[in-house]
Symmetry: D2
Subunit: 252 residues, 4 copies
C-alpha cells in the first residue's frame, strides 16, 4: 500500500475582475497548485498573489500551461504549429517562474490545461512540443498527466520525470481510461463515492464503471474546486486520506 | 571625451504574421537589443528567434516592457494601477528571460516602451512600479531611459543602475529635453545631421534647436530601424562612430 | 413631480467562462439594459443571450461601449486617439445591434463604461469622439450620462438626445456632482437610504452629503447588480418606486 | 462561354501599427473585397478606411470572418462550439456592416478566412454554424467558397445564395480540388501561367496538374495581394481578362 500521495488542483484561473473557484480554500487542501499562466486564464497580479499564498502554505507551484485562448478558457483544441506551441509553453513557464521566485520558490512541474491536456495525451506532435519546452526550460521540471499517453512517451524520450495523476470524481472504464464527459457515469457527484475512490487510488486500484477492479498507480490525485460541491469534495477527500494515515505531500 | 558607447534599438516588434522593422539588419548594428515581450508587440516565437540571433552576434538582451495594448502598439498612455503595472513588468521580464537563457544569456536591462516610457519619465507612481518590478526581479538589472526623470529617481531610490540614453535623430531643446514630436525639428531626417549628432553625443554635448550647446552624458545611443531611412541612418551612425575610434560595446 | 423614470443597469459583463453579476435577476428589475459589447467585457454568445432575454422582458437595449481592455475591465483611462476611439465605438454598436436585431429590436442608446464614462464627462476630445460615433451610426440613438458634462455638450452640438441619469447608491456634493469613490460617503450601503434617495430623485432633488438639497433632473436611475447587496438594493428600489406610483418605463 | 466574372481578394488584414498587403492597389483590381473583421486581422479604424475606399471604387464589401485568433492569423483550426462560432460570425458581420453603411453600402456577402474556410468546406458542424449566422443576419447575404463542400450544402439547406470561386494561382487535381499547399504544384508562380489559368476559368475549365481538363464553373476568381509578386499577378490577370472582353463585375 502506497503511503504517500500528492493532491493537485487548478489555481489562479480568474482574469482581471473575474474570479473562478476559491483559491484560498483550495490552497488549504492541496499539496501542489497548477497555476494558470495568462494564456487561457490568470493574469500577472493573480499569479503573484497565488504564488505567494502557495509558498506560505508549503504548496508546490506548477505551471498550468494552456492554449492562447481566453475566450474559450483553453477548452477548444487548436492546431498550433509545433514551434509556436513550444515557444508558448516556454513563455508561460518563464512568466510564472518569475512570480514563483519572488515568493521564494521555483516552478517545479508543468501540467497542460484543458484541450491542450487532452490533445497532449493523444497527439504526438503537440505532446512532443510541450515536452520539449519543459525539457529545455529546466531539466528538473516534472510533467503531470495521464498514464500510457503520448505525453508520457514524449517525456520518457526526453528523460523528463512523468508523474501520473488519478481522479477521485471521474469514472474509469475497464482499461483504466477516464470515461468521456459526454458519457453517463463520467462525473461522480456523490460525496461518499468520491471519498471512496480517493481511498481506492491510494490502495492502487479503482472500481471501473462496469464493476471491474482496475490497477492504477498514481502519485497525485487531481481535485476540483470550481464549484461549491467540488470544493467540499476536495476537503472531504483530504480529511479521509489524513484519517487513513496517508502521507499527503508534494511529489516534487 | 568618452571612448565607449552602447547602441540600442527596438527589436522583435512584430506579432504573429505581421512584421515591423528589419531585426536581422539592426542586430548587425547595435550592441543592445530592446526585445518586445508580448504586451505591446512580440510573441513567443519571435522572442525566441531574436534572442538567439542577438546572442549569436554578441548583442546584449534587454526587456522592452510595455502596456498590455497590441491594438495601440503600447503608444497610448494607460492609467494602470501600481500593483497591476508592477506585476505586468515582472511577467514580461520573466517570459523574455526564459528565451534569453535558452539562447545562453540572461536579460540584462529593462527599457519601457512607448507611452510607458514617456509616462515613466514624468509620473512618479508608474516610475516606481516599473523600478520596483526591476529591482525585485533581479538586482543586477539596469534601467535605460532619459536623464533627470521620475524613472531615474525611482531607480536611484532602489539602487538600480540607471543608464542614460541619447538620440541621434531627435532634436533637443536648450534644457537638454527632447523636442515633442508635434513640434518642428523634433525628428532629424538628414543623414549627415544624424551622424553629426551621434558624434556630438560621444563628445558629451548636443546642439539644441536654438543653436545652444547642451551638455549630455549618455552611455547609450538609441537607434531606430522601423523605416528604411532609419535603418540606413543606424548603419551610417555605426560606421561613423567606428571610424572615429569609439569603442562600441554594451553598457551591461 | 415627474411621474416616470427609467431604470438602467449594466448587463452581460461576463466573458467566456467568467460570470459577473446576475443578469437574469437584474433584467427583472430594470427597463433599460446597458449591454457590454466585447471590448471591456461581454462576448458574442453572452450578447446574443442577454439581448434575447432583454427583449422578452420588454427591456430596452443600449450599447455599453468601453475601452479595448479586458484585463482592466475598462476601468483604466486610456489615451485613445480620436479616430481610433470613434471607430471602436462604431464597431461595438454595430456588433451589438446585430444581436439586438436578431432578438427583434434595435440598439436604442449608448452609455460609455467605466473609465470611458468618466473621461467622456470631462474630456472634450474623447466626448466628441463618442458622440460623433453615435451620431453617425444612427441619428435616433440617445446618449446616457451625467448632466453638465463634456459628453452632454458634444451630444448637444450633434443634436443627439442626451438622457441624464442619477444614482440611488452614490453620494452627491452640494453642486450636484457625484462624490469621488475615494471619499467617505461616496457609496451608500444602507438599504433604506438607497431607497430614500431613489424616491428623492423622482421628486427632483437629492440630499447632498453636507445636508443641502440639490435639484436633480434625471430621466433614468442607474442601478448596480454586481454584488448580492447591490442586487437587493435594485429590487428594493423598484418595489418602492412602484409602490409610490412612479411609472417605470424606458426613456427610449 | 461565360461573359462575366467577379474578382475577389482579402482586404484590410493589418492590425494596429502592422500592415499586410497593399489594400489600395488591390482595390483598383478587384470587384469584391473580403474585409477582415477584427478576429483574425483588421481593426475598427482599418475597417472604416477600407470600406470607404471600396465604396468609392465601386467595389462590393464582403465580411471575411475568421476564428478569434490574432496570434495565429486565423490559420489554426479551432474546435469552437457551434453556438459560440455562430455568435462570433454574427458579431463580425454586424461590426463590419456598421462601417459598410457609413460608407454608403452594406455587407453583401460572407467569406470565411483561413482555417475557418478550410474547416467549413469539410466539417458539417462548423459549416452549419457559419451558414446559420449568415442566414439569420440577413437573408440577402451570399456565401463565397469552394464547390461541392460542406459549406455549399449548408448554404443550400438554408436557401443562401452560394457563389463558387476559383483560383488563378493554385494548382487543381483531376477531381477539381485544390492541390494541398504541402504538395508540389500547389502554387503557380509563373505570371503567364497564372494569367492562362484565369482565362481558362472564364472558359469554364482548368488544366489539372496531371494534364486533364477539369470543368469548373466559378462566378468569382480569388486573387492574392500579400506579396509583391501576387499583386503583380492580380494586375496582370485583370488586364488579360479585360483585353479578352470579360465583363468584370461584382457577383452581388
Amino acid at each position: 500500500v502506497p503511503e504517500r500521495l500528492d493532491l493537485n488542483a487548478d489555481i489562479g484561473e480568474g482574469f482581471g475582475i473575474w474570479q473562478l473557484g476559491d483559491d484560498s480554500a483550495l490552497l488549504e487542501v492541496v499539496t501542489s497548485a497548477n497555476v494558470a499562466c495568462g494564456f487561457h486564464a490568470g493574469d500577472p497580479a493573480i499569479m503573484r498573489r497565488v504564488c505567494a499564498q502557495a509558498v506560505s502554505r508549503n504548496v508546490v507551484i506548477g505551471a498550468q500551461v494552456g492554449y492562447r485562448d481566453l475566450a474559450g478558457f483553453g477548452r477548444r483544441a487548436i492546431e498550433v504549429p509545433s514551434a509556436a506551441l513550444r515557444a508558448d509553453v516556454v513563455y508561460q513557464i518563464g512568466a510564472l517562474d518569475a512570480f514563483a521566485r519572488l515568493a521564494g520558490d521555483r516552478v517545479r512541474y508543468v501540467k497542460p490545461h484543458g484541450a491542450l491536456y487532452n490533445t497532449a495525451m493523444v497527439d504526438e506532435r503537440q505532446a512532443e512540443a510541450v515536452a520539449a519546452a519543459v525539457a529545455e526550460y529546466r531539466g528538473e521540471l516534472a510533467l503531470l498527466g495521464q498514464p500510457d499517453s503520448a505525453l508520457a512517451s514524449a517525456a520518457a524520450t526526453l528523460s523528463i520525470r512523468y508523474v501520473v495523476e488519478a481522479f477521485a470524481d471521474r469514472g474509469y472504464d475497464r482499461s483504466g481510461r477516464l470515461v468521456a464527459r459526454t458519457e453517463p457515469g463520467a462525473v461522480i457527484t456523490d460525496s461518499a463515492a468520491v471519498v471512496a475512490q480517493a481511498l481506492a487510488v491510494v490502495g492502487g486500484s479503482v472500481v471501473a464503471l462496469d464493476g471491474s477492479v482496475v490497477p492504477i498507480h498514481a502519485e497525485s490525485l487531481c481535485l476540483h474546486g470550481d464549484t461549491p460541491a467540488a470544493a467540499e469534495h476536495a476537503r472531504a477527500v483530504r480529511a479521509a486520506l489524513t484519517a487513513a494515515g496517508t502521507d499527503l505531500r508534494p511529489f516534487a
